[in-house]
């Protein structure tokens, strides 16, 4: 049987991305169903990530599946020296899908190769986090009505920010113009700029973050600027308040602008922005539920037609 695991969406075609977004849209219309009745979803979190786990477990529960799993690696046998393969083989006896978060890069790829059941990557170290990218794409699609020809501004930590890298790669099909706004120490790595050139993605770089730079934005994607990312703490002190979005900066922005953030935020979006209708980060998190419902069904071979048909029940 073909392994339908989701490890990364970097290689997904345009059609495949749009297909999954259509499926997410169907789940948004009707999130509570019995389409996964009788299925068992295992959530294996070798590294804690409460938001991602709650989102996947809610997605499974609202589709009628049962959930088993663990979060804390200390209570599992991995700390007793059991290999990842052995854990995966054991859990495969019980579950129809494995949703896995791991601190090691490539863990999801490896798990998908050894597991007889589909594996969904819920984050493998600094590598991939495809369900986050799907919910980001869905949020952009929903708020802009399209993914085509958008001005997307990525702000903050563009060096270590896994989510912005995955988003950049997934957007290559849709003729975006990217704007990279980051401090010198955290700017977009060279390999992603090369990726942009190879895929004819337009981009501009800035170190200033102000009203003028964001005037033409359709999407403003904010990320955390974390102290521990800086080798030079003087530099951190200098820039820590530069990459903060404040409500007054939004006055002359486009009406269709929406602000995204993978959450949790620290201080990079001032609380006065929350009341602005352009703030979209809480709905964005909710979209994660529909995106993950689509992912769980897709890895089990449930099609868009099945999902549409199921809604009539």
């Amino acid at each position: 049987m073909e392994n339908r695991s989701l490890v990364t969406i970097a290689e997904h075609s345009k059609e495949r991305i749009l297909y999954l977004l259509e499926m997410a849209k169907e789940f948004e219309k009707k999130p509570n169903r019995k389409i996964l009745d009788g299925k068992v979803v295992a959530t294996l979190f070798f590294e804690p990530s409460t938001r991602t786990r709650l989102s996947f477990e809610t997605a499974a529960n609202r589709l009628g599946a049962r959930v088993i799993g663990f979060t804390d690696p200390k209570v599992t046998s991995s700390s007793k020296g059991e290999t990842l393969k052995d854990t995966i083989m054991m859990v495969s006896n019980y579950a129809d899908i494995i949703v896995m978060r791991h601190f090691l890069e490539g863990a999801a790829r490896y798990a998908s190769e050894v597991a007889p059941v589909p594996v969904v990557n819920a984050g493998d170290g600094a590598n991939q986090h495809p369900s986050q990218t799907m919910l980001d794409l869905y949020s952009i699609y929903k708020t802009q009505g399209t993914l085509e020809n958008l001005n997307i501004y990525l702000v903050g930590d563009l060096k270590y920010g896994r989510t912005v890298h995955s988003l950049l790669m997934a957007m290559r099909h849709f003729n975006p113009t990217f704007h990279f706004i980051a401090p010198e120490e955290l700017k977009m790595p060279e390999e992603y700029k090369i990726y942009c050139k190879e895929h004819h993605i337009k981009y501009k770089e800035y170190t200033d973050f102000n009203e003028e730079t964001i005037a033409d934005a359709d999407i403003l994607y904010m990320t955390r600027v974390q102290r521990e990312r800086f080798t030079d703490l003087m530099e951190y002190e200098r820039v820590k308040d530069v990459y903060i979005l404040r409500n007054k900066m939004l006055e002359h922005t486009r009406p269709n602008l929406r602000i995204l953030h993978p959450l949790p935020r620290v201080n990079e979006i001032a609380y006065d922005v929350d009341e602005n209708p352009k703030a979209y980060y809480f709905q964005q998190a909710q979209n994660g539920l529909y995106a993950r419902q689509a992912i769980l069904c897709d890895v089990l071979g449930i099609t868009l037609d099945d999902v549409i048909e199921d809604a009539k029940k």
Partner: protein, 153 residues
């Protein structure tokens, strides 16, 4: 005196393979990659011969052994310019060069300490994404590494 004749002088080979133009400091790595230490064949190993191109070079002669393309491709990361002479009845009947393969399985160690391959008993796999410059990409953690930084398992 040609390289071939110099090689043949070490010990005449009736049938087998002469591996020539091995950089001297890579000689024993080549031995390991071809698993010659476990071989029953009659093997002659010479090192630090003079070479116009390399300064010093090593030569390995293996009697009655003909390597597959897969075996030869293992050498691509450490000694891409190695030449193989296939000998039959004391004559060179074929010359082979090392070709960089599409992928390298179980040969290279991933440089990323947070890669699953460095933390789990499993076989590494690299995709060769730039044959000319020897750029590899780990199949698992997706990190790229260049030939200069490559460590063998």
């Amino acid at each position: 005196m040609s390289d071939n004749k110099q090689a043949l002088q070490v010990a005449a080979l009736k049938n087998g393979t002469v591996i020539d133009h091995i950089p001297s400091d890579k000689l024993f790595t080549v031995v390991t990659l071809l698993e010659l230490q476990n071989s029953d064949s009659n093997i002659t190993i010479g090192n630090n011969f003079e070479s116009k191109k390399l300064g010093k070079k090593g030569i390995i002669k293996v009697a009655d052994r003909f390597f597959t393309d897969e075996e030869i491709s293992r050498l691509s990361v450490v000694a891409p310019n190695v030449k193989l002479n296939i000998i039959r009845d004391y004559e060179v009947v074929e010359k082979k060069q090392v070709q960089m393969p599409q992928e390298l399985r179980g040969i290279v160690k991933c440089a990323n300490p947070k890669c699953i391959t460095n933390n789990e008993p499993m076989t590494t796999l690299f995709h060769v994404i730039d044959k000319e410059h020897g750029v590899l990409k780990c199949h698992y953690c997706e990190k790229e590494q260049s030939k200069e930084g490559i460590k063998l398992l």
